[in-house]
Point group: C3
Chain length 260, copies 3
């Protein structure tokens, strides 16, 4: 499958080769998963096809078919080299940063945060193309299936780790830089009824602990750390840590490690 | 469909006409969604039928059929004019209060908070009629599908906005007034093992920020605001704001806008 | 069904008899649920078969069949008397401790926390047997279906109540004692990128309130109470209460009841 819809193998896609190798080993070792691993990974020629197939199944419903979603997702992947790049950079980030991630195959199949992020990338492109109802339908399915509510207009960089994923909410005018790690239950929210540019801007390399709530059109500077459970209503300078409710800044020198 | 089961069109249902118009425009503009929009909205004669169809599909499982749920939900809608009224007032509240809501059609199809609330209204009526196991089964499906756990006995007014929805927990003896806005991860909880009347009472026009935890049989007065991440264990007077963990009152004059 | 796959009735399984009696009463009283109750409970000969059937249905997807999952789960239940014991002790704990639980049947059918915990017990055994990909696949489905992300390596005692369940995250090296109650949105998390033994150890009889975040390889002593929304980064001695962000200890004498 795949050649019909114009998918072409990325040249030298080492990550995909590695992922297939892992899936093959798992299928050989665990008969109960062999059919699942073949259908989801091993029969596909490219990472993009496999991911589109998996997302199509996850996000489908009795009224939104997996075939329709597969075709939509694969088309977006094929049109947008930035997304194809981001998929791989995200996957490497998850594998490197999350000690609970045992393989690329594990990330691809099982990580809600990774899957929701890639589905968001599709929704974001559709939104940018003015396909609003479709983008919102995908947002809605992401929210129901992965419990992550990311507005399709939100901008997300590459190498982003959404760990666990459950309960993450990211508003319409939020932006997230590269190499950001965001734990579960994190809110990048707005300020009530107000419209316009109303959500946080997260710099590169920021780490946001579990349950942190960051509200308003504020800046979290490059390399900043936001403690678990922090309620942040003010700008946080680069390489600075914010903790508490309401959050206070604790300076670039103090560098708590306990942010998960 | 529809005439057989006694559904009758509300007279002058302008909201439903507007919603159908929006769905028609979306179907014309986005072929990928046309089938979905026809099946979910455009083939139905009334708002109630469309909503029952959508909820039936969302809440169904391999052992609880969508047909059974459709019939249950539509019957409750037809019996209870208060619920029919609440559906429309809620939908208008979402459309007006949430800057991310682009249309009534968007609310109806995609808002977990709206859908969970209407499904709860059904469960609440069944509970009030003594159909306890059925009410609890619907609560359970709402919790699994929308990640909102609302006890069927809880009382919810009209014009209520549950924004994002994920993680909301509302206990058995909680009550919520009219025109209340509740963000995601909000808990209206009890006090451990204690039985009886043990959950908060939320007045009209209250705004509860993301992640706020309100515990015990306490009163949140009319027009009060509860800050994001607040842990509230005491009564909050009308038009007063409570913030922090544990929450302190900051008076009616101070009126923080950053509660999302 | 059932005799073919070697399931044998537990001798004098009073809990299962009581649960069947409740299901029978509910099926007689509520025709709309009769088919569901027969398929899920009444046709099964043992608690284990019924639970495996229910979990198989809940955790199945278009690529992981309910039959495969049923067989897996029932096999683990049959091999491991500790899990069979834990199922019953957990169910009794839910029934006794949660005032919103009206029957064993209610717990079995509807409680995400109970179902996720039993599915975790299966994943944990598979993990212990080195069936890593399978254990991780089950973890992933638990996280998607019940919004509870429990690493399959985490150790969980008996008589554990996960109330509401939504948003609970339990890390790889966490352990939970017996008779522990954990509310929704509770995190037993790690400390960022660090590997190794990095998650909390929860003693017997601990109560952890909604939204509490407990981070790092710390000990929560027997009978301790963690307040709602607490962010705990330090050991908590036995029978001591910790509240606030960051959490402070408030001593064994003060014994707040408002922890839900």
């Amino acid at each position: 499958m795949g050649s019909e819809n114009g998918c072409t193998m990325e040249e030298n896609d080492e990550l995909w080769e590695q992922l297939r190798y892992e899936a093959k080993c798992d299928a050989d070792a665990e008969l109960a998963l062999a059919s699942y691993l073949y259908a989801t990974i091993l029969v596909h020629r490219t990472m993009e096809q496999a991911l589109a197939f998996h997302l199509g199944n996850k996000l489908s419903s009795s009224t939104l078919s997996n075939t329709l979603l597969y075709n939509l997702v694969v088309d977006v992947f094929m049109e947008d080299p930035e997304i194809r790049d981001a998929i791989r950079i995200d996957m490497r980030a998850v594998r490197e940063k999350d000690p609970a991630c045992v393989s690329y195959c594990h990330c691809m199949l099982n990580f809600k945060g990774f899957l929701a992020c890639q589905a968001h990338r599709v929704a974001h492109r559709l939104w940018s193309q003015g396909r609003i109802p479709l983008a919102l339908a995908i947002q809605s399915r992401i929210s129901e299936v992965f419990a992550m509510d990311i507005h399709p207009a939100a901008k997300i960089g590459k190498g982003v780790l959404f760990d666990h994923g459950t309960g993450i909410v990211i508003g319409e005018t939020a932006s997230i830089g590269n190499n950001v790690s965001i734990l579960h239950h994190v809110t990048l929210g707005g300020t009530g009824k107000q419209g316009g540019d109303r959500h946080p801007k997260i710099g590169n390399g920021v780490l946001i602990g579990a349950g942190a709530t960051i509200l308003g059109n504020i800046k979290i500077g490059e390399g900043a750390k936001i403690g678990a459970g922090a309620v942040v209503l003010i700008d946080v300078p680069p390489r600075t840590t914010a903790v508490g409710n309401p959050a206070r800044l604790v300076g670039g020198r103090r560098n708590p490690t306990q942010l998960t």
